[in-house]
């Protein structure tokens, strides 16, 4: 009988407190993603075991939500706000400038070296600083809101991150 992989052991410990038929699936998925940055196929199995669900059910539910990821995330994600106040101030231009500067073909993609990604964000009601983005790093659980964006600033920010800048450097680029 094969021993469990180390990551499976870690996964089991993470979701040990969750119970079947208790509305715990979203919490379990969040917990695992918080720790690993994404949800692996292994995670579907372990969570399914814990909650009495088929891995296909777990994946089916998880894949329904924008915020769950199934591949390792970029070191830094630029979360682009898609809200209306941001769109009124060239939000679309900022999105296109970010993607083009990084050579990423579509939203939720990342650079080939995995350094920078662009992900879809939603309005959270700080529209006085529209247009805005958030710079996020999973490893350090950092989220830095950056308001009063422009397309030019988006290009400078994306280029800086592509070239290895820190969040602070990219914010001031």
């Amino acid at each position: 009988m094969p021993l469990e992989t180390e990551s499976k052991v870690r996964l089991r410990a993470l979701v040990a407190e969750f119970r079947p038929n208790n509305g715990d699936l979203l919490a379990a998925l969040h917990r695992v993603q918080h720790e690993f940055g994404y949800l692996s196929a292994e995670a579907m199995e372990v969570i399914g075991d814990q909650l009495g669900l088929f891995p296909a059910h777990v994946y089916g539910a998880a894949s329904y939500y924008e915020e769950f990821r199934f591949e390792p995330q970029a070191h830094t994600n630029i979360r682009w706000c898609s809200g209306p106040a941001c769109r009124l101030r060239n939000g679309n231009g900022i999105r296109d400038a970010l993607l083009a500067s990084l050579g990423i073909g579509h939203m939720n993609g990342q650079t080939e070296d995995g350094r920078v990604g662009v992900i879809l964000g939603q309005c959270n009601g700080a529209c006085e600083v529209a247009p805005m983005v958030w710079l996020e790093q999973h490893e350090s659980h950092t989220i830095e809101p950056v308001g009063n964006m422009s397309a030019a600033r988006a290009v400078r920010m994306a280029r800086a991150l592509r070239d290895g800048a820190t969040i602070e450097e990219a914010t001031n680029a």
Binding site: G23, L25, H57, Y64, S82, L88, A126, E128, R153
Partner: protein, 628 residues
């Protein structure tokens, strides 16, 4: 058995003492407003800077926290409370202003004079009352739902209690009211669903009370997904116990023992504050088992969403709670018959519950003092877009929208072009509607429009209404759950057509096809599909001239990608080199002195215009395909 009220009174005595010490501190205290908006404005950096100054000087000053008032364009907000109880509000306060704020708090009155906004409480010569700020002109003299904002630490249970919190529910639990009375007073007050549907809350509670079985579930819809609406967020971040108390009252009135707050993932601070408040209330015996010694149970839990707009539809939300894809289903059965885990359930919006403690405390007549005959009480609204003052207010129903625009400082950057209400499933209203609109759902009906959950966005004439419509069409397409072909297929077609028109390749048959899609979408099973063509319908109804012009290839706003090009307007502007360098797709051609933009390569992001507005500009471009 100890009386619930006696237990409450004991709790209240401690809370009063703690709150009095906070209101009249022995030494000055500096509070920084910490909420999702202020954080986006750098409030955490401002707080850190103030902490550094206080600590470096070893100043006799304490530090604390409040929630902002709604004047978000003045964030980061800082307030200083002096030992006499006077509280002065300052903003925007950047880290560079930290010294001045600490100076003023230390007694050097005048050091931060230029940052003062007004007095929250008390008086100081020459400083106006905050309440007299024009932004608050339309609010009731005494706020109701927002009454604790700025006057309490939102993370303190004691502060909430000292401001009469849990008093109404303690009386209720002490058997001063029956379950029937609870539901009756909500009906008498005329409280209706604040999420936008306006269904009477008390009637909904009656459904659940009358439902079979013992296991009743109370659910709060805190999945506030409409972009441009942050009404629920303010309640949860600013006064989390108000929601808990409202749900406790609902639980008593409907005999529910278990509750869920389904809270969107985009509100991390609201999640943290709600979870903390629930833990505080449980520890104090106000929630959980044997509440205030009465033997009653109400367990409450936050379920964190994960970014699915349609989970704001109640059956989608219920499905999401019970470990499944958050897909809406056909009603009936309604949640009161079959809800969470197939048990009778009731789903209300955050703000609906938040009204309950106020109504129970003051009665239905008091509640009806504000609002109109058909829409009673007050409601929180958030206003954004091309206006001078972005923020939120608590307004009586019936306030004219034109007055709201006035206190928001009017339009900036251009004339009013469109009013967007009710989120992506809402409406697009023309400027001529403004004089007739009041903040009451049915006033929007003549325009085939809805008011919705409280988010209203004002758009100026630098915007193309087609581009706006495409944005919302793409949103509802992306967020369709996929169950109904009408919805997932119809919304794809709707988005594609709008995109093609924006690209300068509209066709004559697009309009009849958009109308066909609209009719077809009415046969979707849930409101997501049924309401998803509303904005495009409003476009054709109220902005038909703009639509026709776009078909002809005219776009005065120069924002429709296929109907303008970017051109060099001044070869000799020194900033032109910067424009060339910033272009993310290297679309500039030719040597210095003879630069041009390759239209096929240009992605119209506008970065070059940002850095060299006098050297590069936009130029109208005729459509390249003949209109047929």
């Amino acid at each position: 058995m100890p009386d619930a009220l006696a237990l409450y009174d004991a709790m209240r005595a401690n809370a009063d003492a703690a709150y009095a010490a906070w209101r009249n501190p022995e030494r000055p205290r500096i509070d920084v407003a910490i909420d999702q908006s202020s954080i986006s404005n750098g409030a955490l950096r401002t707080r850190a800077a103030i902490e550094r100054v206080v600590s470096a000087r070893n100043a006799a000053i304490d530090l604390g926290r409040v929630h902002g008032y709604g004047i978000q364009w003045l964030h980061p907000l800082v307030q200083v409370t002096f030992p006499d109880g006077a509280t002065v509000l300052y903003g925007p306060v950047t880290p560079a202003d930290a010294e001045a704020i600490v100076d003023e708090a230390s007694g050097r009155w005048g050091a931060a004079a230029s940052l003062r906004i007004g007095m929250v409480t008390g008086e100081r010569d020459g400083v106006p009352s905050l309440r007299d700020h024009p932004f608050f002109a339309l609010e009731p003299r005494e706020r109701r739902l927002l009454r604790n904002l700025g006057l309490t630490d939102p993370e303190s249970l004691e502060h909430y209690i000292a401001r009469d919190g849990y008093r109404a529910s303690a009386r209720m639990l002490g058997r001063h009211s029956t379950e029937d009375q609870i539901r009756t007073v909500m009906n008498d007050a005329g409280l209706t669903g604040r999420g936008g549907a306006n269904f009477p809350t008390g009637v909904k509670w009656n459904f659940l009370f009358g439902a079979a079985g013992e296991d009743h579930y109370l659910v709060c819809n805190a999945d506030e997904g409409d972009p441009g609406a942050w009404v629920n967020r303010v309640v949860m971040e600013g006064d989390p116990h108000l929601l808990i108390e409202g749900m406790l009252i609902g639980a008593f009135g409907t005999r529910s023992k278990q509750g869920y707050i389904y809270l969107r993932d985009e509100y991390p601070l609201a999640i943290a504050r709600m979870e903390q408040a629930i833990a505080q209330a449980e520890a104090a015996g106000l929630l959980g088992e044997d509440i205030l010694g009465t033997g009653l149970t109400f367990r409450l839990r936050v379920i964190r969403g994960a970014g699915a707009y349609v989970c704001g539809e109640e059956t989608g939300l219920l499905s999401s709670i019970q470990d499944s894809r958050g897909m809406p289903r056909v009603k009936p059965p309604f949640p009161a018959q079959r809800g969470v885990f197939d048990k009778p359930s009731n789903v209300n919006n955050v703000e609906s519950y938040a009204n309950a403690p106020l109504i129970l405390m003051h009665g239905s007549d008091w509640y009806r003092q504000y609002g109109t005959e058909r829409a009673t009480g007050t409601k929180i609204f958030s206003f954004s877009g091309d206006i001078a003052r972005v923020g939120f207010m608590e307004l009586p129903f019936g306030v004219p929208l034109a007055k709201v625009l006035e206190v928001c400082g009017g339009m900036v950057g251009g004339e009013l072009k469109a009013i967007q209400s009710g989120g992506p499933l809402g409406s697009l209203l023309p400027p001529q509607s403004l004089p007739k609109l009041i903040l009451q759902g049915d006033s929007f009906s003549p325009w085939d429009a809805i008011m919705g959950g409280g988010g209203i966005v004002f758009c100026n004439d630098k915007t193309s209404v087609l581009v706006l419509a495409e944005m919302f069409a793409a949103f509802v397409e992306e967020e369709s759950c996929g169950r109904c072909t009408t919805c997932h297929g119809g919304n794809q077609r709707q988005t594609e057509i709008l995109r093609r028109i924006i690209d300068g390749r509209g066709r004559r048959e697009d309009e009849p096809n958009l109308k066909l899609i609209d009719r077809t979408l009415q046969f979707s099973n849930c409101v997501h599909g049924q309401f998803s063509p509303k904005i495009t319908r409003n476009l054709l109804q109220h902005f038909h001239a703009d639509y026709e012009a776009a078909l002809r290839g005219e776009d005065p706003s120069l924002t429709m990608a296929g109907l303008y090009r970017v051109v060099v307007t001044n070869q000799y502007d020194p900033a032109l080199a910067e424009a060339v360098a910033i272009c993310p797709v290297d679309a500039f051609r030719g040597p210095a002195g003879n630069r041009s933009v390759d239209d096929a390569a240009c992605i119209r992001c506008g970065a070059c215009i940002d850095v060299a507005p006098k050297a590069v500009g936009k130029q109208a471009k005729a459509r390249t395909v003949a209109l047929n």
